[in-house]
């Protein structure tokens, strides 16, 4: 990981010194372990804040929306796909960006780690051998990195950036033998009553903080439908119908756009598996339109284009 960090700093310093970009967006160490935070570097002397490790799960495409300056952005696979989506949706111009591609080694899940140890975690480090060492008051434990991956990273098939201006390392090998939709098929096989019960249980802890929306690079509407008061589309309280409306509508707004970056799930303070909603739509887009979001700048998304042979069996 250290060579990634060094290379990112070196590239960022060069870009800022040459004036190719006005700022570089990357990650720096957070104030808590396992919680790196986004970092915007504007001066070459500040590039040493930038880091790279397995806690860089936040999607940096979220910080590009409607920016006017020239930006160097550090992008792992999912970030790069969201950058493509941003460009397609005219939220940023390709010419404004210098994309620093990072072949991603998958991110670790802070909740999984917290559930495996007791007591407060004070430090989490990784070894080159693929071990994650968790230290806290009175304990030190070592896990295989594969055990503590974020769920979306474990089934990721696009670890390498799809667009980049330069790479910090050689591409990593992509996973090919993963079953991305096993959990979704289980839900599809349920009866209507079971499915309703499943979803009611899924988001029953929701406190309507909208962290999932704020972390999501797709959620850039100037006024979100949940905040609108004229008309008020959805109630603001804890009524189960309002919670359901929020989650389903937000998911639908991500149809054909979601890259399964996991930012929503990572941001949720109560641990709702938000991806269960968006992944079904992702699966449908793959099956009905052979579409994966953010793969190329040339193709228009399925909800943006009409084809005479679009599937329409549900329309009578």
């Amino acid at each position: 990981m250290q060579e990634y960090t060094d290379k990112i700093r070196q590239i960022a310093r060069r870009l800022l010194e040459e004036g190719t970009v006005d700022m570089v967006i990357g990650f720096r160490k957070g104030s808590m372990p396992i919680m790196n935070e986004p970092c915007m570097v504007r001066r070459p002397q500040d590039v040493d804040q930038l880091v790279w490790d397995s806690n860089c799960g936040i999607n940096l495409a979220n910080y590009l929306t409607d920016r006017k300056e020239k930006i160097g952005v550090v992008a792992k696979g999912c970030d790069s796909r969201n950058i493509v989506t941003h460009i397609i949706e005219n939220k940023i111009d390709r010419d404004q960006l210098h994309i620093i591609g990072v072949p991603c080694g998958a991110m670790i899940d802070k909740r999984k780690i917290a559930s495996l140890v007791e007591g407060e975690i004070t430090d989490v480090t990784e070894t080159e051998a693929g071990k994650v060492i968790v230290k806290g008051e009175g304990f030190e434990k070592s896990f295989d990195k594969a055990e503590v991956l974020q769920e979306n990273c474990a089934i990721c098939i696009h670890r390498n950036p799809v667009v980049h201006d330069e790479m910090v390392a050689e591409p990593v090998e992509e996973q090919t033998d993963v079953d991305r939709y096993a959990d979704i098929r289980e839900i599809e096989a349920m009866s209507d009553a079971e499915r309703k019960a499943f979803f009611d249980d899924l988001y029953k802890e929701c406190i309507r903080c909208y962290a999932c929306r704020n972390a999501c690079p797709l959620c850039y509407c100037p006024t979100c439908f949940v905040d609108e008061s004229r008309p008020q589309w959805v109630g603001k309280g804890q009524n189960e119908n309002d919670i359901r409306t929020f989650h389903f509508l937000r998911a639908y707004h991500c149809a054909g756009r979601c890259t399964d970056c996991g930012a929503c799930e990572r941001a949720c303070p109560v641990g709702i598996k938000v991806r269960m909603l968006t992944k079904k739509l992702e699966k449908d887009c793959k099956e009905l339109f052979d579409w994966e979001a953010g793969i190329s700048l040339e193709n228009r998304p399925p909800l943006d284009a009409y084809r005479p042979n679009d599937p329409d069996e549900f329309i009578k």
Binding site: D192, A193, R195, K196, A197, F199, G235, N239, N241, D242, R244, F248, D312, F314, I315, K316
Partner: protein, 49 residues
């Protein structure tokens, strides 16, 4: 998401297809009547003592 089958219908009807409109409207009404009143996704009025 747990909507009962038969409660939600989609149709494509041109403004010139009046007979198709009547047919679809009748079918939809009938299908929904058979299911009875909707119990899912209904916001109950808050009870005030």
């Amino acid at each position: 998401m747990g909507i009962e089958p038969g409660r939600l219908h989609f149709s494509w009807i041109s403004s010139a297809e009046s007979t198709k409109f009547v047919k679809v409207a009748t079918e939809v009404t009938q299908a929904v009547k058979e299911l009875g009143p909707n119990r899912h996704f209904v916001k109950e009025k808050v009870k005030v003592a």
